[in-house]
């Protein structure tokens, strides 16, 4: 499994949603950024393809902000 940084996670979110990278404040909620569950699924597929990090839908429980999402990804990558 490749290593990943919070910045790289935000880059992926920016490309996959897509959304302007400058708008990605980590403390913002996904809802307030208009990031839908389908958008997050696209980010999850990109994480698996590019970094070999596999997230399941259950992992997303309790994820509200981008920060929450980054923590979940980092934990899955064994870097959390």
């Amino acid at each position: 499994m490749a290593t990943i940084t919070p910045d790289e996670i935000l880059d992926l979110v920016s490309t996959e949603v897509p959304i302007d990278r400058a708008k990605l404040d980590a403390s913002a909620t996904l809802d307030s950024l208009d990031i839908a569950s389908l958008d997050i699924i696209s980010v999850m597929f990109a994480l698996e393809d590019k970094y070999g990090i596999s997230l399941e839908q259950e992992d997303m429980q309790g994820v509200s902000t981008l920060d929450d999402f980054i923590k979940v990804v980092m934990a899955k990558a064994g870097q959390g």
Binding site: V17, P18, I19, D20, D34, L38, D39, I41, S42, F45, E48, D49
Partner: protein
């Protein structure tokens, strides 16, 4: 009978983005064919001449409908959206109240979302993944493009995809005309597209031995096949009464359509079917073979298509063929498959409206079996009152359209 007029046109292909840049490039005798060298997923390389879309400007669509308007779409739906946005904007119909129920969309995508299909198969078979992206099917289904267009423009009338290979968008234009004539819609967004310059698409066309390794040379001696293209082309058709009532500019008129099926062979064309489709279209438009016309040929540049098409034209027109002129623009924009009929119809309509025929490219000399009048090498001033636009698809599905100068 209800008159059916054109109030908007849009296109994107390897030749350019937008109707005006495409027209200008076609008139100048430019080509969108370049050397393509591409590798899919690190292991699958393909290379050769193709008219591919190098850069696509989606900013106008995103500025109107938001940054996410075109996300999670296969390239074919993105092409369709960009071309249709141009057509709908020109028609002044974006956000127009008549889109509610009296507007339809008939779109011609021949083979669906090829990029998405191949990415999905790669994931399952090469990478041994057990899951696919939940949007895989919504992205690659044949009807993804017209569905996307209905979402984008808020069209709530009849919407469906027509898949008849290289005749898809010609059939869509014909059926759109019939819908308006029948009083079932006031406005129909028609057209088609394809995005199949992919690893499997390339291999498939190579296997059929229909691809040239050099250039598309319609009706020329020494022609050896077609060149793959991609993109989309869209038109807004409207009843003349509806267009006039809202003061829309009328860009052309669709006056006839004819269709037939060869019932002969899955790849080889048969002249009889082509002759019938042309005759049905002329009859529908109230034209006789004596009326001089500009003909936008199917003209793929394959040995058999061009020979059969030239013979069909000579059978229909006989000695009158000398007064006609045949343009064949696939040499410039490549073969757009689902979108071919629509982009060629647009260029043909512009040609009769503006009195200029785009030149025939890559011509090496006359083939006695393709004896039709051609604007070889240079654009030519013309004065035709009508256009006949041919689409003869794999599987023997023929669709011929007639337009009138307004």
């Amino acid at each position: 009978m209800t008159r059916v007029v054109i109030t908007g046109m849009g296109c994107v292909s390897g030749l350019g983005q937008g109707v005006e840049p495409t027209w200008e490039a076609a008139i100048r005798g430019e080509t969108g064919v370049r050397h393509l060298k591409r590798t899919f997923q690190e292991n699958y390389a393909y290379e050769g001449p193709a008219a591919y879309v190098e850069k696509l400007d989606t900013s106008a669509v995103e500025a109107r409908f938001g940054a996410k308007a075109l996300s999670h779409l296969d390239p074919v739906s993105v092409f369709a959206s960009v071309a249709s946005f141009e057509a709908m904007e020109q028609a002044g119909l974006i956000g127009h109240p008549s889109l509610e129920d009296r507007t339809a969309i008939l779109y011609g995508v021949g083979s669906g979302g090829n990029t998405t299909i191949e990415e999905s198969m790669h994931r399952l078979f090469d990478k041994k993944a057990t899951t696919l992206h939940p949007l895989s099917i919504p992205k690659y289904m044949n009807s993804a493009a017209p569905s996307q267009l209905s979402l984008l423009f808020g069209v709530k009338g009849l919407v469906y995809n027509i898949a008849s290979a290289c005749a898809s968008s010609a059939h869509a234009i014909a059926e759109g005309m019939h819908l308006i004539r029948a009083g079932r819609a006031d406005v129909v967004l028609v057209g088609g597209g394809e995005a199949s310059i992919t690893y499997a698409g390339w291999a498939g066309w190579k296997a059929v031995r229909a691809m040239s390794s050099t250039a598309c040379r319609p009706f020329s001696i020494g022609r050896d096949g077609m060149i793959l293209g991609e993109g989309a082309a869209s038109l807004v058709l409207e009843s003349e009464a509806h267009a006039s009532a809202r003061g829309a500019a009328i860009l052309g008129e669709v006056t006839g359509a004819g269709a037939s099926s060869d019932a002969f062979h899955i790849t080889q064309p048969q002249g009889e079917g082509a002759v019938k489709a042309i005759r049905f279209a002329l009859e529908d438009a109230g034209l006789s073979a004596e009326t001089p016309v500009l003909i936008s040929a199917h003209g793929t540049g394959t040995e058999l298509n061009d020979k059969t098409e030239a013979q069909a034209l000579n059978t229909v027109y006989g000695a009158h063929m000398a007064h006609n002129l045949v343009i064949a623009t696939k040499a410039a924009h490549g073969h757009l498959f689902g979108g071919a009929g629509a982009i060629e119809f647009i260029l043909g309509v512009l040609a009769i409206q503006r009195g200029i025929a785009p030149p025939l490219l890559n011509y090496l000399g006359p083939d006695p079996e393709c004896d039709v009048p051609l604007p070889v090498g240079e654009s030519r001033a013309i004065d035709y009152q009508a256009l006949v636009s041919n689409s003869f698809a794999f599987g023997g599905l023929n669709s011929v359209l007639v337009a009138k100068k307004v």
